[in-house]
Amino acid sequence: MTAPRAANETRRAKAITATWSLTKVRMLLAMRNRTFFFFSLMMPMLFLVGAVVFIGRHGGFLSEYVLGALLTVTVMGSFWGLSVQLVTFREQGILRRFRLAPIGAGPLLASSILSNYVITLPTLLVEILVCRWVLHIHNWGNPWAIFLLITFGSAAFSSFGLIVASVTNTMQETQLINQLIWLAFLFLSGATVPLSEMPLWIRRAALFMPATYLAAGLETSTTSRVNLVDLGTDVLGLAVALWVAFEISRRLFRWEPEAKVPRRAKLWVVVAMVPFFVFGTYENLYGGLLDRIDQTLNFHSIAAKHPERPAPQAHAEIPPQLSFPR
């Protein structure tokens, strides 16, 4: 083995060890943090209980729709928690202590994403199980697709949060920007209000948002044994978002509270949006994501209103595997 190659391998091994060590500690800290516990575990559970009570009274197609929505909101929550935590660490001077150690921004950020992912998984599992047994959703959907979307989604939204943390200077700024982005994610992606119910311009604008790909992907994969290939745009969109957002958050990362946001930060944030501009443009011009969303919703709605009818043909990829609540 050549010397530079050996040095690279040593560096990589060190980065993996450091990432794992930090991940373990970050998980412990998260479990000891009441705020984190509340927002990451309790809030999704409250949503779940609310959904169970509401759907218990109204039922209908919503029971099929709710699991995808719940999973989407929980996964998107990664965005919120990590940005706040990173800014807190920077403001308290915790990051500068880590800066003295032989680790770069990469392992530190990767450990944030990884620990958040591991901690979010049990919540997601509980949501799936409660929906299955309490709301009587008989369909397991496509577990592999759900797993992939959750994995890429959680990591991508964590990375978005890390970008916010890097371009804001104070906790107040972080909270403000988070609120604005979060509201857009929550209400314009189809996660809470079905996109089918929205005006056309919002539906078209939603195609430029990463949250839409997560929401649409999870909606489809929780309700049908859809082929992974059919979720190509959703998974690819989130994977590219993860890669771009992580790289940008690593480049913009600031250890010191007084370090200024570099001028290039705005440019990098624009770069983070490029994949979604490309995906949004493609979907608006040639894609079938909006059709798929409409068909999935209509499909549940018709099936719920007319349980006696044979399952209608939602669209070519989905119908044969779909099951309906009875």
Partner: protein, 306 residues
């Protein structure tokens, strides 16, 4: 002669219009405890943080273990340990977890249990960081600075804000480092700390080194002389002691005579002889050596803590 472990040449650093470091130069040999002594805002922390690789200098040459802190990355970080003036750990991180985490980040590390014992933190190993006292937090910071058995240790105001008892405990630990032949750079504005711990000291003011040498050399090189305070059985006429051998100045304060002498032994012998010849008696005699504070006052006209 071996190259110095720390070398700083013509270092400059500004923050906007404020020139924090203005042409600082010094070198620290292996196994030496070197102090940067100066008031708050003198540029000590900026200098040491440039040496730690946390800040980028505007100009000048900096080498630590022959490495440029800005360029050498992890190779440099593996060889240093540091206590920062302003830093923190997560509130709910336990003492043992903190030490073990940092040990895992380095290629080379020492036994963490041993470290906990050495810094008397073994009984607090499961305590949360937020529940530690100031002294315990500082001991933990020291333990973490040594977790990789570093060649060079930077201590930025390690005892600032601590009570005298804890300060003495920290002094003992630093003296252990000295015995272990670690190269230590310490910044402080405490005179006793610099005098007790440092082999050599650079006095820093307004971003410049205004004097450097061993504490003894600095005190001797200054015009500041030993103060001798005497009380006599019978009062003397004003200025009667001013002509005694090596006395530079003599004043009377509340019945005591305060002599400033450049050669205290000669002055004392001459004083005793004169009193005997006049039939007078010495009731008390106290001697005060010049301190680095005297040196600082002489050089700047200000006290260190002003």
């Amino acid at each position: 002669m071996a190259a110095p472990v720390i070398e700083v040449r013509d270092l400059y650093k500004s923050y906007g219009p404020v020139e924090a470091v203005r042409g600082v130069s010094f070198a620290v040999e292996e196994g030496e405890v070197f102090g940067l002594l100066g008031p708050n805002g003198a540029g000590k922390t900026s200098t040491v943080e440039i040496l730690e690789g946390l800040r980028t200098p505007d100009r000048g040459v900096v080498r630590v273990c022959g490495l440029d802190p800005q360029e050498s990355g992890d190779r440099f970080k593996e060889r240093i340990g540091a206590i920062l003036q302003s830093t923190n750990l997560p509130d709910k991180l336990r003492v043992k977890e903190a030490i073990e985490l940092f040990a895992e980040l380095y290629e080379r590390n020492v036994d963490t249990d041993e470290l906990l014992k050495r810094f008397q933190l073994d009984e607090k190993s499961t305590a949360f960081y937020k529940n530690l006292s100031g002294g315990q937090k500082q001991r933990l910071a020291l333990a973490m600075a040594l977790v990789n058995d570093p060649q060079v240790v930077f201590l930025d105001e390690p005892t600032a804000g601590l009570d005298p008892q804890v300060r003495r405990e920290i002094y003992d630990i630093i003296e252990d480092l000295k015995r272990a032949k670690k190269t230590v750079l310490i910044t402080t504005h405490y005179i006793e700390e610099a005098e007790r711990l440092c082999d050599r000291v650079a006095i820093v003011d307004s971003g410049k080194v205004i004097a450097h040498g061993t504490p003894r050399e600095l005190k001797h090189s200054s015009a500041g002389s030993t103060r001798i305070e005497v009380r006599l059985a019978r009062p003397l006429a004003n200025g009667a002691l001013a002509h005694i051998d090596a006395v530079n100045d003599c004043r009377e304060f509340d019945g005591s005579y305060v002599l400033h002498s450049s050669r205290p032994p000669a002055t004392i012998v001459a004083l005793v002889k004169q009193l005997e010849s006049e039939g007078n008696e010495l009731q008390s005699l106290e001697m005060f050596s010049p301190t680095l504070e005297d040196v600082f006052i002489e050089l700047t006209g200000r006290r260190l803590r002003e």
